[in-house]
């Protein structure tokens, strides 16, 4: 019977269809809105995942560990580089020190030979010859003289020289001029500047007093250096001082021995004369 009603009222059926279509359209609109909302939410979630704090996943934890390890390694690298730099500086210091010690060692070895030679004889002339050889070969002097104190006159008299005649070197009174003052004070004298220096007996390049404790027995006065020796180095200054002490005792003892030998010879001659 319903079927019959439908067929009987086509206007109602059209309205019903329109109603259904409208509802379908409204539903579709609602679905589209819902879809739009979900899409916004999805974008929001994706952004939150991309920029926001870690969500504690395994990948994030591993990345964090790797970052920490990289930082640790960077720190270690910096420390190692710093240590390498320190070691390089230490190495350079050791190299410099090695050279210095080698030079000191050479100087001591030379001084050992020099003092050994100086004390190897009691012959006064031989001692003077050894002093000359040492000053030439170890110091590099070309013109110089050795002046010894004459206690009777209180003057420094030239007794040996190299590169010039001994008789050309003037005697010097103790306390007078550079040489006399150096002998009196016991202090080594070095000229301020060697540039343009010409030999001057009043003003040597170097004057080294020969001292036994506080007692002066003479000086070594240098007037010219070898052409290849244009300046003194630190080793030379040490050498001068050490050498002056050894030369002084060698000269003193050899002179004492020569005097005693001479006296002994005189006494022996006198005894021989009396006993014959």
């Amino acid at each position: 019977m319903g079927r019959n009603d439908d067929t009987k009222n086509p206007t109602n059926r059209g309205e019903e269809f329109l109603q259904v279509f409208k509802k379908g359209a409204e539903f579709t609109q609602e679905l589209l809105k819902e879809n739009e909302k979900l899409r916004y939410r999805l974008v929001g979630l994706e952004e939150a995942l991309g920029k926001g704090p870690s969500d504690g996943s395994e990948d994030d934890a591993e990345t964090l560990q790797l970052r920490q390890r990289v930082l640790e390694l960077e720190r270690e690298k910096e420390e190692i580089l710093g240590r390498v730099k320190e070691i390089e500086e230490e190495n350079e210091d050791f190299a410099h020190r090695y050279v210095e010690i080698e030079e000191e060692n050479n100087m001591l070895a030379n001084l050992y030979i020099a003092s050994f030679q100086l004390h190897s004889t009691l012959d006064f002339k031989e001692v003077l010859q050894i002093i000359l050889e040492i000053v030439i070969n170890l110091i590099g002097a070309e013109e110089f003289g050795v002046l010894l104190l004459d206690e009777k006159t209180n003057r420094l008299e030239p007794v040996a020289s190299e590169g010039l005649s001994t008789s050309d070197i003037p005697a010097v009174a103790i306390g007078r001029g550079i040489i006399g003052e150096a002998a009196q004070s016991g202090e080594n004298y070095f000229i301020d500047s060697m540039a343009g220096y010409e030999r001057n007996f009043e003003q040597p390049l170097v004057c080294i007093p020969l001292m036994i404790k506080d007692q002066n027995i003479g000086v070594i006065a240098i007037y010219k250096l070898l052409v290849q020796k244009d300046e003194f180095n630190s080793v030379d200054y040490e050498l001068f001082t050490l050498l002056a002490g050894h030369a002084a005792t060698a000269v003193f003892s050899s002179r004492l021995y020569s005097d005693s030998e001479r006296k002994l010879s005189t006494i022996q001659g006198f005894i021989d004369l009396l006993t014959k």
Binding site: N106, N110, Y112, F116, Q117, I130, N137, L226, V227
Partner: protein, 123 residues
């Protein structure tokens, strides 16, 4: 270790001792000494040497004469000669080198220079 023989020709006993003492730091060296050029030639004729160190200013026969004679003798033609001298002028150096010296070292004595030179020439 091979023993290398070195002849030191120097009239000054002090200088000779300085050189010998320095050379003793090189292991395996047998060092002989001569007072002058003539003495040096005598030592050379009695033994073979791997290196000669000589002074120039010496009595009887100077170092330059010795260098010349050694270089003109076929037996010692290849033996290195080192001159150690106070003569620091360029012409002195050139003269010694022209006569056949291998190295020219000037005084005052520099132990390191002598040792380095000897080691290099004996290597």
């Amino acid at each position: 270790m091979d023993v290398r023989k070195v002849l030191v020709v120097e009239d000054s006993p002090t200088m000779r001792q300085l050189i010998v003492f320095a050379l003793k730091r090189i292991r395996g060296l047998k060092i002989s000494e001569a007072n002058d050029g003539v003495d040096g030639l005598k030592k050379l004729s009695a033994d073979t040497f791997d290196l000669i160190l000589t002074d120039i200013n010496m009595p009887i026969m100077d170092g330059l004469k010795l260098v010349s004679m050694v270089r003109n003798d076929p037996r010692y033609k290849e033996v290195p000669i080192v001159v150690i001298t106070t003569e620091g002028a360029v012409e002195d150096r050139e003269r010694a080198l022209a006569l056949g010296a291998n190295e020219y070292i000037t005084k005052p004595i520099q132990t390191t220079t002598i040792l380095d030179t000897v080691k290099r020439l004996l290597a």
